[in-house]
């Protein structure tokens, strides 16, 4: 019985991430072909996707390697781009940190924008006492990892035969995916405010070539959304839900009971 729930949760995760995996194909193809063009070997190009597993950081780093920029600057830029994962991890801390080391390491490695999105989705569908099913997250995370690496492989193979693959506008796939992820999260006016502030600032920073634009825009967007919610008292109900969440987190200490309880919830659903 238990293994059926595990595999059904795993399958659910796979299905949830499938659209995002399909959408990431052009982006992965771009990462693979661009790496070859920049001068990496086929093995190095694949290793980027297999070991780093961070699309936007990979593409930006490849641009910098091409421009002959040193490793120090590349790492600082990587840190800036990847800093959003700190926010994701902090958001999911109450769900993942009670799990075993094995689970934490695997889900930590697989924690992408896409996994974060499907994990949050599963939360909104469930009741307020939502707990993340590790098998659901693993199904989603691994499927996405495989998809990303297959697409990169495709890019490496295609990149050897097609010229100027990076001029095909494959980067629109990034935009389309992220639009599909963001729009459904805009459920309250304050999130709309957050998105608009972030959008305007990101474009301004990009036009003026401000390197830390991503950070400036996102932090400002978050502050604006929070401020709006506070001014309009929008967050009251949400705050109550979160308090419950926090107290749960504090009393919860081991993953065993966590897993069992979740399995029960799963069966009820």
């Amino acid at each position: 019985m238990e293994s059926t729930t595990k595999s059904s949760a795993y399958l659910k995760g796979m299905l949830a991430v499938m659209p995002l995996t399909i959408a990431v194909i052009p982006w992965g193809v771009l990462a693979g072909s661009l790496a070859l063009e920049v001068g990496l070997t086929a093995l190095q190009s694949q290793a980027m996707s297999a070991i780093i597993f961070a699309g936007s950081a990979q593409l930006v780093a490849l641009g910098m390697i091409k421009a002959g920029i040193g490793i120090g600057s590349i790492l600082i830029t990587t840190l800036l781009i990847t800093s959003r994962h700190l926010l994701y991890a902090m958001t999911m801390r109450s769900q993942i940190s009670p799990m075993s080391l094995k689970w934490r390491l695997s889900l930590g490695f697989l924690l992408t924008d896409e996994l974060f999105a499907i994990a949050q989705q599963s939360g909104s569908e469930a009741s307020s006492r939502h707990k993340l099913d590790p098998w659901y997250a693993l199904g989603g995370g691994l499927t996405f990892y495989l998809g990303w690496n297959l697409a990169t492989f495709l890019g490496i193979v295609a990149g050897q035969s097609i010229d100027n693959l990076e001029e095909l506008g494959l980067d629109f796939a990034i935009a389309a995916t992220f639009i599909a992820l963001v729009v459904p999260t805009v459920k309250k006016p304050s999130i709309l405010v957050c998105v608009l502030v972030s959008l305007v600032l990101a474009v301004i920073c990009a036009v003026f070539e401000i390197q830390v634009g991503l950070l400036i825009a996102s932090i400002s967007g978050m502050c604006a959304g929070m401020a709006y919610a506070k001014l309009t008292n929008e967050g009251e109900k949400k705050a109550a839900v979160l308090t419950e969440h926090v107290s749960e987190f504090e009393t919860q200490d081991h993953s065993q009971s966590h897993e069992k309880e979740h399995t029960k919830n799963e069966e009820k659903r």
Binding site: M18, P19, I22, A23, L40, Q44, A47, M48, I51, I52, F53, A54, I74, T78, T82, R84, A89, M90, T91, R93, S97, P98, L105, L107, G108, F109, L111, D113, Q120, G169, F172, A173, A175, A176, F178, I179, A180, V182, V183, P184, V186, S190, C194, S198, L199, L201, A202, V203, C205, A206, V207, E209, A217, S218, M222, M226, K238, L242, H245, V246
Partner: protein
């Protein structure tokens, strides 16, 4: 040198993902922090996608000739009305490759 770059980037990325999942890290999240963080995904993803859409060539381009912008508007409408991720991404990327 390339391998060093790849492995050190991987370390930076992994640490940023794992660090705050580590229970030994003394960190108590207040209710306020959690609310603040609930805005992180829309804010960060928007900040990545907006420059691609509004300034694909590096300068602000709000015009009918900007295929990125046109298709992004289509994607937004599709996402809003259908709430279907697959439909949104596949149709808007398809349209993009037709008109780009």
């Amino acid at each position: 040198m390339m391998w060093l770059t790849i492995f050190s980037m991987a370390a930076v990325v992994f640490i940023s993902r794992y660090l705050l999942l580590e229970p030994k890290l003394p960190l108590r999240l207040s209710e306020k922090t959690l609310t603040f963080l609930s805005y992180s995904a829309p804010a960060v993803l928007t900040a990545i996608l907006a420059p691609i859409v509004f300034s694909p060539e590096g300068h602000l381009d709000i015009s009918i000739d900007n295929s990125y912008l046109i298709c992004a508007v289509v994607a937004t409408l599709l996402a809003y009305f259908t709430k279907n991720t697959l439909l949104t991404t596949v149709l808007s990327i398809g349209l993009f490759f037709i008109i780009y």
